[in-house]
């Protein structure tokens, strides 16, 4: 049975026009969005097979000849819907800067070194309870041109597919206690403090592996509430 997707859930998202983040000025709509009743097109979404996620795609530290430099970390959590139900078989894609705050992307000109042993991309599929796990290194903060002395807090980009095309989520996971939070217009584009806190991972001592890696927990909550019979 499909879920319904109350539009009110979207209130947690940032406004598309958030002037503090300058690039939104020319890329956000100015005309009213059209409100519509969801149809099967909106309520369904792509389904993946095991061919999409290979066995070691979740481990970003073993993709090259040697291990990447930086602080090895475990990032794990559950993908859930708004009723707290795990979302099984959800595709989770991740990409990030290296420990020095440099992306491998050709356009990134930050004068920090690339790491030949780190691409920074990973993929996982949640299990039957919605659980996922990545092994990676902690990304560095980096400067950007939005305003004078602008720096992004360390973050990991996440892309998640839920049950429907409209529950699709692209977000960023932050690390607890980052001193750059008050100054980052992307983070603060989410105006509700409680909603902002949901983008910050928790340090997870219980799953930190002794003598090996710190662990952070990042639960991801997707739209979707109240399973209802589908009208066709």
């Amino acid at each position: 049975m499909p879920l319904s997707y109350p539009i009110e859930s979207n209130a947690a998202h940032p406004a598309r026009l958030s002037p503090g983040y300058r690039s939104t000025l020319k890329r956000s709509p100015q005309k009213p969005l059209i409100i519509m009743r969801h149809t099967l097109s909106e309520l369904t979404g792509p389904v993946y097979g095991h061919e999409t996620v290979r066995a070691n795609d979740h481990d970003l530290t073993i993709q090259h000849a040697s291990e990447p430099l930086g602080e090895r970390i475990i990032v794990h959590g559950h993908v859930q819907d708004e009723d707290g139900h795990g979302v099984p078989n959800a595709l989770v894609e991740l990409w990030q800067a290296n420990a020095c705050g440099r992306y491998i992307h050709v356009v990134d000109q930050h004068p920090a070194p690339l790491d030949p042993n780190f691409t920074g991309a990973g993929r996982a599929q949640t299990d039957s309870s919605g659980y996922y796990k990545f092994i990676t290194i902690k990304p560095g903060a980096y400067p950007w041109g939005n305003h004078h002395n602008a720096w992004r807090p360390a973050h990991i980009h996440f892309s998640v597919f839920g049950h429907a095309f409209i529950s699709r989520l692209v977000t960023q996971m932050y690390f607890p206690g980052d001193p750059l939070f008050p100054f980052d217009p992307v983070f603060n584009s989410v105006t509700d403090e409680k909603a902002r806190a949901r983008m910050i991972s928790d340090f997870d001592l219980d799953h930190t592996q002794p003598n090996w890696a710190l662990c952070y927990r990042f639960n991801i909550v997707l739209r979707g509430r109240k399973a209802t019979p589908m009208e066709t």
């Binding site: 997707y5 539009i7 859930s9 947690a12 998202h13 940032p14 406004a15 598309r16 939104t24 020319k26 890329r27 956000s28 709509p29 100015q30 005309k31 969005l33 059209i34 409100i35 519509m36 009743r37 969801h38 149809t39 099967l40 097109s41 369904t44 979404g45 792509p46 389904v47 996620v53 993709q63 708004e82 707290g84 595709l91 894609e93 990409w95 491998i104 992307h105 050709v106 356009v107 990134d108 691409t119 991309a121 990973g122 980009h157 429907a164 699709r168 692209v170 977000t171 960023q172 992307v186 584009s189 989410v190 949901r198 983008m199 991801i220 909550v221 997707l222 589908m230 009208e231 066709t232």
Partner: protein
């Protein structure tokens, strides 16, 4: 009751993770081609450009499409009418190029019923992600050679003078049937986006 996780921008540097397309040491989970040799339906290409509010091409956006197969069925178990169709998954992804250009190779979708019982005209859903976009925009691609557009219940919600932004225009490309669909993120001819 937990609230949802807020959206954040895909940023400028997603390509190596989401649309590597042979340029990085990472494989593509998805491509802009939805068709296999055994896929049934009329082959089409949907192509166009993405522009910002100044009419400047957007070279760093990611487009995703989701659509029914030629019989109007979705490759998702939630579509209870659907028979398994392993030859068409209905999902594609494309990063825009230096001129803001994109293209998808797919098939013309069949009609999908609206919850009110009327048929919808054939359409493709599109989500647009980009640097400078904190949340994806959703739009729909319709086809200018479909008489069913006139009675489509979703198009009917759109002011008549803006409907044209949702309708791809048929053209004959060098490799078959092409529909041209440009996306304008802002401005006078701004593409219609849906609040879903």
């Amino acid at each position: 009751m937990p609230g949802i996780t807020p959206s954040q921008t895909v940023g400028p540097f997603f390509a190596y993770g989401l649309t590597p397309n042979g340029k990085y040491q990472w494989n593509d989970a998805f491509t802009s081609s939805l068709v296999k040799p055994e896929t049934s339906g009329d082959r089409i290409r949907v192509e166009g450009f993405v522009y910002d509010g100044d009419g400047v091409p957007v070279p760093d956006s990611m487009l995703e499409i989701w659509q029914a197969d030629a019989q109007g069925r979705f490759a998702d178990a939630q579509d209870k009418r659907a028979l398994p169709n392993t030859a068409f998954k209905g999902f594609g992804r494309c990063g825009t190029g230096p001129k803001g250009e994109f293209s998808f190779d797919t098939i013309k979708p069949g009609s999908v019923q609206h919850p009110d019982g009327t048929p919808q005209a054939p359409h493709i859903l599109m989500a647009i992600f980009s640097r400078g976009m904190l949340l994806q925009n959703y739009t729909r691609i319709y086809f200018d050679d479909e008489a069913a557009n006139a009675a489509d219940p979703v198009l009917a919600l759109v002011p008549a003078d803006r409907r044209g932004t949702l309708i791809a225009r048929r053209a004959q490309g060098t490799n078959g049937l092409v529909y041209r669909f440009d996306i304008r993120l802002q401005g006078e001819d701004e593409t219609v986006f849906f609040d879903v």
